[in-house]
Structure formats: C-alpha cells, structure tokens
C-alpha cells in the first residue's frame, strides 16, 4: 500500500465545492471483488484464438487477451524478441494485427502496409504495399498524419489512407483487390480511423472536423468495395438514415430533421460530426455503435443550437445503416469535445437488473454507462478533473454546462478542464472480466480559449478558436486510471508526466500494458497498478499495444513506438513552442517534449526468455 501511495490521490470533497469535479480516487487496498459478473457478450467476444485481427481485439472492444503465459510474476523478465522500423517518423497510433503466422502493420502517411513473417527468425518482411497517397493530404490532416490501424477479415486486409481511400489487400500476397475513393482532400476530408468489418461490410468514417467537413460513416462491400450505404451525421433525416425505427431515449433527441433545425441555415453542411474513432458491434442486437465528432467551427457563437448529431453516439443497423437510437454526450459543444472514443460492450447487473451496457470514457470527462439497447444513461461520473460542466442530468440525459466556462467570440475564458483534447482522446482503454475494471489511458490538462471570427474556405481550417493548454490540477499531464464500473469510481490511478496517448491492453495474466510519450513501455498489475516492468523504446509511444500467441506457441507483446499525434505534433511536426497556440494550443502544454524524445517509427515485440 505505502509503496504505491504516491500514485494515489485521496478524494477531496472540497474540490467538488470549488466546481472542480474531481474523480474520487480510491485509497483502500481492498482487492476487487473475486468474481465480477461483468463480461462482454459472448457473440461479440469469442474465445481467444491467440490472434489479433482487429485493433479493438473483438467486436465488444475489450482489448482483453486470455493469454496468461506472461503474468504478474514473470513479466519482469520480458525481453525484446525483434524490432522493425516502419521507415516513417510520424505519430504511430496503429495497432499491429496478427493473423496466423503473419503480423500486419500500417504506417502513418504514406500509409505503407507491411506483412512480417512471424514463423521465421527476426520476422522478415513477407510483402509490403505502398498506396502512394497524395502528398497534399498531409496539409489537411488536423493532428499529425496518423493511421489507427487495419482490420482483417476473410483473407483480406482492409485499411484507409490519409487521402481518403479504403483499400482491400490479399492478406497472403499484398496484392490490392479493390480501392475505393471515398474522401476528398480538397474539402479537407481525410481518413485516419481503423475500419471495422461487420457482416461482409467494411465500415469507414471520415476525419475533418477542424476543416468544416460534414461527417459520415459508410459501409463498403467487403467483396468489391462498392458503397452499400452512407449515413451522414448532420442534415435532413433521410441523409442521416433516420426513419421509423429511430427511437432515441431522451426528448432532446426527438423531432424531425434535427440535423437541420438545430443549426443556423446551411451551417450543417459544414458542421463536422465526423467518424474518426471507434466502432463496436453487437451481433445479438445486430447493432453497430459509433460516436460522432465535434461540431464545426469550434467557436460556438457561429452555430447556435444543439448541432445534431455531433458529439454523440448512434446505434445503427449494420445492414442498412438505419439509425436505432442516438444520445448526445455534449449538445452544442463549446470545447471541441468530439464524441468518438471507444465503446466497450458488456453485460452486467445494474442495480439488481441484468443490463446490456455500453461503457464509454468520454472526451467531456465522464465515464458513461449506457443501456445499449435504448441509449439510456445509467451512470455518468467524472474520471478526472472536470469544470466545464457540473454533471449529467440523468432524467433529461443532458450535460449540465458550467456557465462560467462558456466560450464565444472575442472572449477569453481561462482554465477550462478538460481541454479540447478531452480528459481522454482517441486512445482506447481496455476491460478485464477478471477484475471488472476498465483501464483508461488519459490526459490531465486544462486550457484557455478565445473565440475568433473565421471564414469558411473549403480545404482550410474552420476552427475560430485560439487555444492554449496547460497541465491540469497536480501538474501531471497524464494519468492511467483503472475504473471500477460497478462501484462507479476508480480503483487506482497512476500519474504520468505526459498525457497517456497510447492505447491499453490487459491480459488474463493480470498485466496491463501501456506506453508513455517519453518512450517507456510499461507493464502494471491489473489489480493494484503496481509497476511490474518497463522498457525504454526509441521514441515516445502513442500506439496501441497488442498481445498474441506466436507460431512457437508462446505469448508475445507488441507495440509501435513513434511519437506524434495531436499531443506529440510538437516533435513529429517540429513545431515552435514559443507560440502557445501552435497545434491548436496543444504545444503550450508540451513545450518540453522535444527534450524528452525524438520522432521515430519502430515496432517492438517482447517475449519471455
């Protein structure tokens, strides 16, 4: 207990009184309950075959591996099995995939795909595919030229390129099977998300919420790449695929053509709501769940109204795209709180009743537990410092904004927590059915904002906000928090100097892996958070760690090292820290990152000796 007390903070009710809704951090050393009755639905999380075929591990997005060869006791012996340079020194956010005896990785722009042969010593290159995306795409990618990974299904590798192509490759040969051009960089549209393959359809969404790009999600036929359906997240109901089946839980989301009427005239056409994050799928309910990004521009004075369907979450029928329900995390977003984070699908008893839930650590600072059949909010508790709002009204479902932190044209509002990058951004968390805990890599930052006028010029930024970020309360810019879903509070939390911009993976060996922006790859105990092992990689880590069973039958752990992304753009883009507003204000909080790490792009794979 004492040896990790520095990592724990005592809950202080006084802080709440100061409007700083601070996550209660548990100090009791009690073990998590022995058999937590929380588990992903079997259909969305089949028994582990040792492979890693999609970034989130399974449709339930647990990022949990049943492999247990590496455990709390022996993880300290981990050593490097092999390394591989992607040849690209930009932010490496992708998750490697492992299918059979082959590992697949996608690099940031120019989005090179490598297949590595795990059955041979040193994992030599089996094939490599270069899509040669248009170089101009780099100028319209808001936050470094990242790619969040590929997906495998039916002998094919599916991935997206920054310049708006979805490509299917033969997984054995690397030959392209089809190439669909779905995004237009001339209006500022790029693609950075990892696709998800559901029932023969490749689900893809666009990025561009900082460029006035109208958000959509498309289903491409996995066979030939033709577009089966497109659902927009702003505009008339017919574009949003809202029909008779649409049954939102809360009144605020009911009405006709809200995607038009909750905007000033025509503003929905350039209003954002992009789908650049994660999609989950429940085969039993036959529903996909995807978030929607921030409304554009950031300056809220330019778009009075609730700005449907931005900063929310849709449940859709994967066959038709038809919307089933919607919930808006952040109506009329004031702070760039995209709603695109991961959704973990779990079945559990909630206040005595079995519920099918969806767990979402959201950018606005709350950890939401939703009933995924209806979109009803069961719980919304802050998992870190939040002062931009005062909580979520569970009756109306509405976020209660703090009037003191409302931004607008010509007004400088100081010390807003969390920042535009959220208490947590895209970096995905993991869930262990053994502990019942969600392992959340996240930020601890606050910001000053000043709304300014902005002209819409297609293909250029449409933001209208000067931002300047600073470290959050306590000075640690990042944290890694284990959240007890049933108890609605953290079990433990570790402070990190830099934002934790990497993903997390947790195993049946009760080990959680994540990386830091100064390059440490860490293994901590899933039960207590105790640091068990760490290894210093060549660059900062913002990638998604995975674990798999190699052709030799042993467990391996893999992660891409290479700093960048929005948080690391100061290094990957060589930005100038004298300008507090650089990289949409993130640079101000990361002034010292250039002293802590350099750009890179290297895969590290570890195993026991």
């Amino acid at each position: 207990m004492t040896k990790r007390s520095s990592a724990l903070r005592r809950y202080s009710p006084g802080l709440a009184a100061m409007l700083l809704v601070c996550a209660p951090l548990l100090t009791a050393a009690s073990e998590p309950s022995p058999a937590p009755a929380i588990s992903p639905p079997a259909a969305a999380a089949p028994p582990d075959d040792g492979q890693w075929t999609m970034p989130a591990k399974n449709y339930a997005s647990t990022r949990y591996s049943e492999l247990a060869e590496i455990n709390e006791g022996n993880v300290k012996n981990l050593q490097v099995a092999f390394t591989f340079s992607t040849g690209v020194n930009k932010g490496q956010e992708a998750a490697p995939l492992v299918v059979g005896s082959t590992m697949y990785i996608v690099s940031p722009f120019p989005n090179i795909v490598y297949a590595l042969d795990l059955s041979k010593s040193g994992a030599p290159i089996k094939w490599k595919y270069e899509p040669n995306p248009e170089p101009a795409a780099q100028g319209v990618a808001c936050c470094d030229v990242v790619n969040r990974g590929a997906a495998f299904a039916n002998g094919r590798i599916f991935f997206n390129t920054l310049d708006g192509h979805t490509i299917a490759l033969d997984a054995n040969t690397g030959q392209p099977v089809w190439n669909a051009h779905v995004g237009n960089i001339n209006i500022g549209e790029t693609i950075t998300m990892a696709p998800l393959v559901v029932k023969g359809k490749v689900l893809v969404g666009n990025s561009g919420g900082e460029m006035g790009v109208r958000g959509w999600v498309k289903a491409l036929d996995a066979g030939d790449g033709h577009v089966a359906w497109t659902a927009y997240n702003t505009g008339p109901d017919k574009d949003v695929l809202i029909g008779p089946d649409f049954k939102p839980h809360y009144d605020m989301d009911k009405g006709k053509d809200l995607g038009v009427t909750t905007w000033p005239p025509e503003a929905w056409k350039i209003g954002g709501g992009n789908v650049w994050g994660w999609i989950s799928y429940d085969p039993d309910l036959n529903l996909i769940f995807h978030g929607t990004g921030n409304p554009g521009p950031w300056n809220p004075d330019l778009r009075p109204g609730d700005n449907k369907w931005t900063s929310g979450i849709f449940a859709r029928d994967p066959d038709t795209g038809a919307a089933k329900w919607f919930y808006q995390w952040t109506p009329h977003d004031l702070h760039d709180y995209d709603g695109i984070n991961e959704q973990i699908l779990l079945d559990m008893n909630w206040q005595g009743k079995p519920r099918k839930v969806l767990v979402r650590p959201e950018r606005n600072g709350y950890l939401y537990v939703l009933d995924r059949t209806t979109g009803e909010v069961l719980s919304a508790k802050p998992y870190g410092p939040v002062n931009s709002s005062k909580g979520v009204d569970l009756k109306t479902g509405r976020l209660m904004e703090n009037p003191d932190k409302v931004t607008g044209t010509g007004k400088v509002v100081r010390d807003i927590c969390p920042t535009a990058s959220g208490l947590k951004d895209w970096q995905p968390s993991a869930f262990s059915p053994k502990t019942g805990l969600v392992y959340i890599p996240h930020n601890n930052l606050c910001m000053d904002e000043e709304g300014v006028e902005v002209n819409y010029i297609a293909g250029t930024p449409y933001v209208g906000m000067n931002v300047r970020m600073i470290p959050g309360p306590g000075g640690n810019r990042g944290a890694f928090t284990a959240w007890d879903i049933a108890a609605e509070k953290p079990a433990w939390s570790l402070k990190e100097n830099f934002p934790v911009w990497s993903g997390a993976v947790v195993t049946a060996g009760d080990v959680v892996f994540y990386g830091t922006m100064d390059g440490w790859f860490k293994a901590v105990s899933a039960k207590t958070g105790d640091l068990l092992w760490q290894f210093k990689t060549s660059s900062g880590i913002i990638g998604q760690p995975i674990t798999y069973r190699g052709p030799d039958g042993h467990q391996y752990v893999a992660v891409l090292s290479g700093v960048g992304g929005w948080a690391g753009a100061i290094v990957s883009g060589d930005l100038d820290p004298r300008d507090a507003t650089a990289a949409l204000g993130f640079v101000n909080a990361m002034k010292d990152l250039k002293n802590a790490t350099t750009a890179g792009g290297t895969l590290y794979v570890f195993r026991l000796p």
């Binding site: 100028g139 936050c143 002209n455 933001v463 000067n466 883009g573 060589d574 100038d576 300008d579 507090a580």
Partner: protein
Amino acid sequence: MRCAVAVLFPVVLMLVACQREERDTRPQSALGSGEQPTPVTTLVPGGQRPSPTDNKAASFEANAFHLSEGKRLFGWFNCSGCHANGGGGMGPALMDEKWIYGSSMESIHATIRDGRPNGMPSFRDKIPDDQIWELAAFVRSLSGKAPSSAAPSRNDDMMAHPSENRMPNAATLGKSP
C-alpha cells in the same frame, strides 16, 4: 518660446513619421503579376547566379501598413488555422529559422501563390497579388526578418509569442553573426 518648441516638436516628429514610408494609394489589383522564377534550391549547376528579385519585394517588405495588412490577412485567409500564430500545426512553423522552400520575399510569395506539394494550398485565385506580397512580408516578420520599426505588435489576448516587432532574427537569435 518653450511653448513654441513644445508645439513644433510633435509637428516635426509627425513630419518625420510621415517620411518613414510610402505606399501606393492605388495598389495593383490584377492577379498574379509577379511570375518571376523562384528556385527552391540554392544549388545551381555551373555556379551560383544572383537570385532573381522582384521589385515589389522591397516596397512591401519594410512597410508598416503592408505588414499590418499581412497580419490581418493571415487570419482572414485561415493561414493561422494551419500555421497557428507562427508556431505551426497542420503546416510547418513559420517563426523558426528552418525554411523548406526559402525565406526570401520572392520564395514566400511563390509558396503562397502556387502552393507546395506536401499540403500548402495554392492561393493563386483567392488572394490578389499585392495581398500575397503583404502576407509574404508578414510571414518574414514572424521570424524577425522585418524591420522592427515596421513590424506589427502581437495580439495581447492569448500571449501567443513576443510581438513581431520584437522577434529576434530566428537565424541569429539576435546575436550579430
């Protein structure tokens, strides 16, 4: 007598100030006047030749009015969206001493007019030529390459960086070479 000096002195000052710079009252509005070659390299086979200059460069460069217009246009045309207030973001930092395509007025003018391959849009049909020169002059001021007497001062609201007219030359950081 003292009184006369006190009255005269500001008048003299004003006269001097008026002398400081001149500008065209009728700027050329035609698009794309300057089609001068702007090499993006200093390598010239057969030995270096004097780099081509455009006579517009000088008349815009040290002119306070044009510089402050350049600053306004930098926000107006969303340059700031990609380059922030000089520190960079989607586009590279413009306040440092690192130049991909050259730091001369002519090079920066060409960058803005024609775009650059890795994501700098071409503003040829969007911005009249004289305003491109104003932008080019302002871009140079971000790294201390404009006379401090003419460069604009900073926006004070967010305290983004030292004011343009106090920026040390990025290459020398204020030290004499």
